[in-house]
Symmetry: C2
Subunit: 230 residues, 2 copies
Amino acid sequence: MATTDVKVIGAWPSPFVMRARIALNIKSVDYEFLQEQLGAKSELLLKSNPVHKKIPVLIHGDKPICESLVIVQYVDEVWASGPAILPSDPYERAIARFWAAYIDEKWFPSLSGIARGPTDEAKKAAKEQVVEGLALLDDAFVKCSKGKAFFGGDRIGYLDIALGCFLGWVRVTEKTSHLKLLDESKTPNLVKWADSFCADVSVKDVMPETDKLAEFAKVLMAKFKAPPPS
Amino acid sequence: MATTDVKVIGAWPSPFVMRARIALNIKSVDYEFLQEQLGAKSELLLKSNPVHKKIPVLIHGDKPICESLVIVQYVDEVWASGPAILPSDPYERAIARFWAAYIDEKWFPSLSGIARGPTDEAKKAAKEQVVEGLALLDDAFVKCSKGKAFFGGDRIGYLDIALGCFLGWVRVTEKTSHLKLLDESKTPNLVKWADSFCADVSVKDVMPETDKLAEFAKVLMAKFKAPPPS
């Protein structure tokens, strides 16, 4: 058992949980990973996040912190002596926060919609929105990275974490829906970035293998389609 | 014409625009207020926020900053020598960010739903969600304010701005839907806080009068109900 006062309540396939874990890895903070089971919620989760009852929750000492982007900012501020996650310049911080909000509010719902849209038309529209969004993010990458490997420059930063956590699910979606989303001809910068991101020391041990994640996706989809228990 | 390098693209009835204006007022920053007209979008807005095409946009020098909570954090960081908007303690910052996200993602959509829900049942459910949310926020107020007048303590802070900007619309909703949302018996702390918030020097000149806002709401509702132009 880890002797640490930092715990993450989560589950390995969750991109949002991955954000918290990558942030802690960047800061070299040891943590205990408490995995929730699909379809069940632990007492600790319900007690720690009574409003949303969702993972991830970071527990630092006896304090629960909820919502993945809030956790990433908290980790950056508490372990301030480690590598910075948010840019130091207020305008660059604002740009990173803007795109992170775009990813969560617009782009990720479309990514989910490719597999889970109610009709074929809705799925097609979702796919187009994802591709358009990636083109916008490719442009944003050019502006933010200034020729370096990451949105954050030489190191993985806030926006890298916000987008990069979805790369496993992008690959699963490409595989199961027979699509090309990250395309060398349309988003050449993001294609290169995705490789750098997944190879990074703070990421590689928490980024799930595509095949394993695809297996999990099958279980998840079956669960969505199953009638509710009577 | 104001000789300032700070501009806010907005509209007086918008709660999100109010957030940017209150933040600038707290920091005593002069700004030019460029009002958009209902149903039209200026060239400057389209150029400054090409992704969402929405107000508010803060323009600082030649740099546009979009999304109201991103703007508030930017203002706090750029004019750092003025009164602090976010708490200085990382955990208190995380709590403020958590509730601000809750307000935008859960609570405000319900508030809108009271007048705009598709059926009477949906409107009733929205009303219940708003009341439940206010009870949660009343509890949060007790924890955050520690006996002081505001979520932020002695002064208006991030969470005060995030919630307080909706008080005009809460009052309009109470009036037009014949409801009591902020109720002395259920949310006694928020009732008192709302008075303090609206009376604050950084707020009182940007908080619209209820009657004027109710008139605007009528125009807006008529617009929603009108068939699209052919």
